[in-house]
Symmetry: C2
Subunit: 346 residues, 2 copies
């Protein structure tokens, strides 16, 4: 079976980190003897420039016909029309492909713990995953409008949507340390009351997993004061956006964190947590680790090559350990030099 | 003129930190020769126990007839009825008294910088204020309900509400470093689009103040990676809840941070950021600093005794500097011992 991959380089540093990663994928496929078809499509700002919209029909169709999507990054100061933003492409692709589960691991390794803004003793051995609901909540609820007098956004969740994401979190915890922390604002929001009660309900099907509840404001503190306490965190869309970005700086650089988004069936999407970093775009400075670790998630989950994925993850961290790293990690290597080193290690 | 103060000890550690602080206020009033009337009322969980509701009419009336309200903390595991929570008292008092502006300073002093979960070099000299809108947004918008199938919360803001809080932020910045950072989620939320455009509008009246915009997810990172960059942060209710709690751990202990809430006229409310900490309640262990620094804000803003306020702030920090501190600050003193030491220094 030949898997189909759609590559969406996007904007800013997106193309440089994705192109290099595709070469790594080629080398890995040779070594581990698997095949894939890859097409590259316009997405984000570049698609606005070339086709007038961030998610052109041709791009969406290619994605729909894929097993996996590799995304670089989108956005930049160039695209200022509030009605036609690169980011809208991201929201559109999530919604169209029903990518409701966003998985964001935070892992602190030996090699970068000292780079964390937090004290090394606090972050060492941190290893948790944030499961963010990605197609509900304030991002998509209607009514949603503004005029010169007032604005409205709507936060909606159905029990079905909450149940679905809860199962993802519990299943993940079963493969890990058996602890789920559900984050909500139950003392204020109706949606959080339904969220909490649904999580309790679903937890009955997972007697081996401990379910804890934490308020979102408290969680924003705990992530800093004691990140090691977490195993799997599950939360709604906007809370997940804020908390996963907060978590992403814990390992020492935003450039390290990968993410994956899954639907109930159909293609999955893999992208680094970081954005398009227009300030360093085209300068061969970007840290490719977040993209490469996203590729590793893709190889494991969509191409079903767990050994290959593990091999890639080991190489990425070993390379950093050896000091072959970009500036954000305290190194002096360029993006392409890091890719070279990784290719050699394959 | 004799100012009227209503004291609301509340639950958990609330009574112990507030009673001691009232004695400090007595001593300060003697030294600085001012007068006040103080009444104490039931509020929060204790009011549910005694009157069946967290904000009894008598309590609200006393608050309405005051110049200032001193609040300890509310809540605890004892009150589990989701329809009748101690926290509802807090939301009720904010709404009834139209306390739309919540001011939360984050200051890192010499004495506690080493206790921060962040690296000392990153946090030293941090000094910013979060201005949180407190009576709008998802907390109060309608419709707001849930049933067994779905839930809805509504995020509404009027231009008037945004304008009002923007002025508070700009005026504060004029007295400080002239920088306002407005935090929103403009790439997704309609309310944030109106927020950003209104902030731009109001900023025209403050040509000496620089206005920056930051997305809430990015802000949650910046607070950790570079807290020194901020002067005045202004944001909507829920973002302010999350970000100010995140910020509150930066100085080394949650027990250090004060807050003040203002309306357009009428009484102001002063309370520490921390909660009721039921796990240590009644054990004479609670750090009274957050309450005392809230009292200092009250003395400055509502009793109009700036020298007295400064004196109290100096004493609080000097006492910590001298090592007379509770366990959360690495000390071995009890709550009452800290109060004793502070009283002696007056
Ligand atoms: C670009 C933006 C719409 C997006 C989000 O808020 O989901 C981004 O911040 C993310 O976390 O992937
Ligand atoms: C208790 C709760 C309703 C409250 C809030 O969310 O506003 C608290 O977290 C706070 O920040 O004062």
């Amino acid at each position: 079976m030949t898997y189909k991959i759609t590559a969406l380089p996007g904007d800013g540093i997106g193309p440089e980190i994705l192109e290099g990663s595709i070469e790594i994928l080629e080398a890995l496929a040779k070594k581990f003897e698997f095949e894939y078809d890859l097409v590259t499509k316009d997405f984000g700002g570049i698609a606005i420039d070339k086709h007038g919209e961030p998610l052109p029909p041709e791009t969406l169709e290619a994605c729909q016909n894929s097993d996996a999507i590799l995304l670089g990054a989108v956005g930049g100061p160039k695209w200022t029309n509030p009605k036609n933003r690169p980011e809208h492409g991201l929201l559109g692709i999530r919604k169209s492909l029903k990518l409701f589960a966003n998985i964001r691991p935070t892992i602190v390794t030996e090699a970068t713990a000292h780079l964390s803004p937090l004290k090394e003793s606090l972050v060492k051995d941190t290893d948790f995953i944030i499961v963010r609901e990605l197609t509900g909540g304030l991002y998509f609820g209607e009514p949603k409008y503004f005029n010169e007098n007032q604005a409205v956004d709507t936060l909606t969740y159905t029990t079905e949507e909450i149940t679905r994401i809860a199962h993802i979190a519990f299943k993940l915890a079963l493969k890990r340390k058996n602890v789920v922390t559900s984050v909500d604002k139950e003392n204020v929001l109706s949606s959080s009351k339904l969220w909490r009660q649904t999580l309790e309900q679903v937890s009955k099907e997972y007697p081996d997993v401990t379910l804890n509840h934490l308020l979102v404001d408290a969680c924003s503190m705990h992530l800093i004061t004691n990140p090691k306490q977490f195993d799997v965190i599950v939360t709604e869309n906007l809370f997940g956006d804020i908390l996963s970005d907060e978590a992403s700086v814990i390992p020492g650089s935003l450039g390290l964190s990968p993410s994956a988004s899954f639907g109930e069936s159909g293609p999955s999407l893999y992208e680094p947590i970081h954005g398009s970093a227009p300030d360093i775009a085209g300068q061969n400075k970007a840290n490719p680790s977040g993209m490469l670790l996203s590729l590793a998630m893709c190889i494991r989950e969509s191409l079903h090559q767990p050994e290959c994925a593990q091999h890639l993850e080991n190489i990425v961290f070993n390379t950093i350990n050896e000091g072959i790293a970009t500036k954000d990690l305290g190194g002096s290597y360029s993006t392409s030099e890091v890719f070279e080193a990784i290719k050699k290690s394959i």
